[in-house]
Amino acid sequence: MMSVYGWLMFMPAATFLIAFTYYPTVATLAKSFYSQGTALRAAEFVGLENFEYMLDDDVFWQVAWNNVIYAAGTIPISIALAIAMALWVNGRLPLKSIARMAYFTPTILPMIAVANIWLFFYTPDIGLIDQFTRLFGIPSHNWLGDPNTVLGCIIVITIWKEAGFFMIFYLAALQSVSPELEEAAKLEGASRWYFFRRVLFQILMPTTLFVLINAVINSFKLVDQLFILTKGGPDNASSLLLYYIYEVAFSFLDQAYASTLTVVLLAVLALIAIGQFVFLDKRVHYQ
């Protein structure tokens, strides 16, 4: 009787998980081995043909490489900024709550709205950035129209958006650090940098692991701004893997190939998550 009760409790969550997570995952995997069917041509089993096509697809390699740069650009900087901001607003500061709120604001703004604002920051000639640089006599630059700068522009927005969110986790962790530690370190004559490196940073390790996993997932997941800012252009210079999947699925209506790309994305994310838990976990000291 008790076990029936247990299963009943489990049912609602399980239903949702199966319907919206496990079934789609399995269906996607299955679809990646079939061709795209139309009314005239039914879908048929093609084995690894979609994956071969992917290896041949220059755009896929370009967006994959873009995604690596995007991750490498956003993750370390946003985490470093988050720690710095958390330390800053954790201290004794006049108007502390206002400073905290200011740092957190980017997180609560919807990305699409934010991207529209940044679009006008980056616009050549009439944009905020160009108006500012003009004061110093620097000629205007077509930030989003130049393949060399466009990905950097996207990275900056993502850092701006994410850092405040990560700061909240660090702030919460810092609040639970006992002040006696700092006093003891001071008595021993440790410098502030030494105290941060050998004590605080170690205590923050579990938070860092959590934030790191979130940041990695976000670097694959956060593509909303592309819809407004660049649509992946110019010539795919700012396109990311998830945006490309969207394009393939809904603009090219090729669900078979979109499934193939999704399977690869899932595999990469799974590998990274396993890697982080297995290898990093050993170096994290929980209190």
Partner: protein
């Protein structure tokens, strides 16, 4: 327990009443129509008003008009609804979705639906240029509804300041370059006002269709299974576009953002912009200077692609529903309604007799730029549309952007694009 019984009895009664009301509606024909809005705002209200008028005239037909986002969303929603067996009898969708919809077996040709002589005449009452994107395989699959073209907006005050005749906008490529050079104002290295801007994000293939046509070249054939991306005239057109920035210095180099271009024009950062007629009302309401609207300039000839949405009727509906859908489409494309629609939205009147109605005649008299798009229709051609249209379009977009940003030469970029397009379209020949 008693309360439980009473509750369930009440629910049963409700359910019975509900199903009865459903059957009574089902006695009449019920139509579901998806439609997109690409230019935002009050358009949904206008559509609701038109549909309400139709229902008043035809009490036996009920229409559910469902706003479905932009063109992309509308196509996805309509196709998804069809796949899941939900009823939808007609939709407004992107005119260039035609091959996709045929390939999916989703739509029927209007030739198979029209019966009376009156209906057949109606099928031929639209501007031929607007029908190009709706016709293939010798049949008509789409009826023009919300359609646009590209026009040239120019700042008359800037023209006067540069010593140009504001009533005589550039009519050829050479005149465009010459005027652009006079209009480009520099302060040291910084450009204060550009001569011209042609947007190259969002819909680069659309703008490029205009340039290619002006050079006497279409981008694809009428069967949608062949592209002419590497034709010499196409390459010349892209070289010209690139040269505006790189050689003549009258346009910023790199790509130009579709979304902020209108603001650039309104703030006087560019004296000329090429944009959709759909912007006419907004520019009219927001320009602080005297502006003009002109046809796009010519090289070998004038030219612009058309754009926008067509009506389609879905195959999976009963004959009765198809007849009702046809009735609705005929109602919405009557000259009077088309004229009213055009005036309220800035979209084209889709047929010559719409411009003969008093509504549009008065509007054009009061605001002459509204007629430019109509007069340009004579030179218009179909928008890029092929089988695998999403992919083919993207291939061309990428090639254009690669050339404009200098990562490939125009000939190289278009040659690669043609090769990729050939690979996709081979199996449709």
């Amino acid at each position: 327990m008693l309360r439980f019984l009473r509750n369930s009895a009440r629910k049963l009664a409700l359910a019975a009443a509900f199903s009865m009301s459903l059957t009574s509606i089902a006695a009449a024909v019920e139509l579901t129509m998806y439609y997109p809005v690409a230019v935002g705002g009050a358009l949904t209200k206008i559509v609701d008003g038109l549909v309400a008028d139709f229902e008043k005239e035809n009490p036996d037909i009920k229409v559910n008009a469902i706003y479905a986002g932009n063109y992309n969303d509308a196509r996805i929603k309509a196709l998804a609804a069809l796949k899941s067996g939900e009823p939808a009898q007609l939709s407004v969708m992107f005119s260039i979705d035609i091959y996709e919809l045929i390939e999916q077996g989703a739509i029927v040709a209007f030739d198979d639906l029209v019966k009376t002589a009156d209906e057949k005449a109606w099928l031929n009452s639209f501007y031929p240029a607007l029908m190009e994107n709706g016709r293939t395989q010798g049949k008509t699959w789409g009826i023009p509804f919300q359609r646009s073209t590209i026009v040239m907006y120019y700042n008359k005050d800037a023209f006067r300041a540069a010593g140009l005749d504001p009533e005589n906008p550039p009519a050829t490529w050479d005149e465009l370059v010459a005027a652009g050079k006079k209009l480009t104002k520099k302060n040291g290295d910084a450009v204060e006002q550009w001569g011209a801007m042609i947007p190259s994000t969002g819909y680069p293939y659309w703008m490029f269709g205009a340039l290619a046509m002006q050079n006497g070249q279409t981008l694809m054939n009428g069967d949608g299974n062949e592209t002419y991306f590497n034709a010499p005239a196409t390459v010349e057109a892209l070289e010209f576009w690139k040269s505006l920035g790189s050689d003549h210095g009258i346009m910023p180099s790199g790509t130009i953002e579709w979304g902020t271009l209108r603001q650039n024009f309104l703030e006087g950062k560019t004296a000329i912009m090429w944009h959709s007629t759909g912007n006419l009302t907004t520019v009219k309401n927001n320009a602080s200077f005297d502006f003009g609207v002109a046809m796009l300039p010519a090289q070998k000839r004038r030219g612009t692609p058309t754009g926008g949405g067509n009506f389609y009727i879905f195959k999976d509906s009963t004959d009765e529903e198809k007849a009702a859908a046809l009735k609705l489409i005929k109602f919405l494309t009557q000259p009077e309604r088309t004229g009213e629609w055009s005036m309220k939205t800035g979209y084209l009147g889709t047929r010559p007799d719409a411009y003969a109605t008093s509504t549009l005649q008065n509007y054009v008299k009061e605001f002459p730029p509204a007629a430019v798009a109509r007069d340009q229709l004579e030179f218009a051609t179909a928008e890029l549309s092929t089988y695998q249209t999403g992919r083919v379009r993207k291939i061309l977009d990428d090639a254009i952007q690669a050339a404009l940003t200098g990562s490939k030469s125009p000939a190289e970029a278009l040659g690669d694009a043609q090769k990729q397009a050939d690979r996709l379209l081979k199996r449709y020949r």
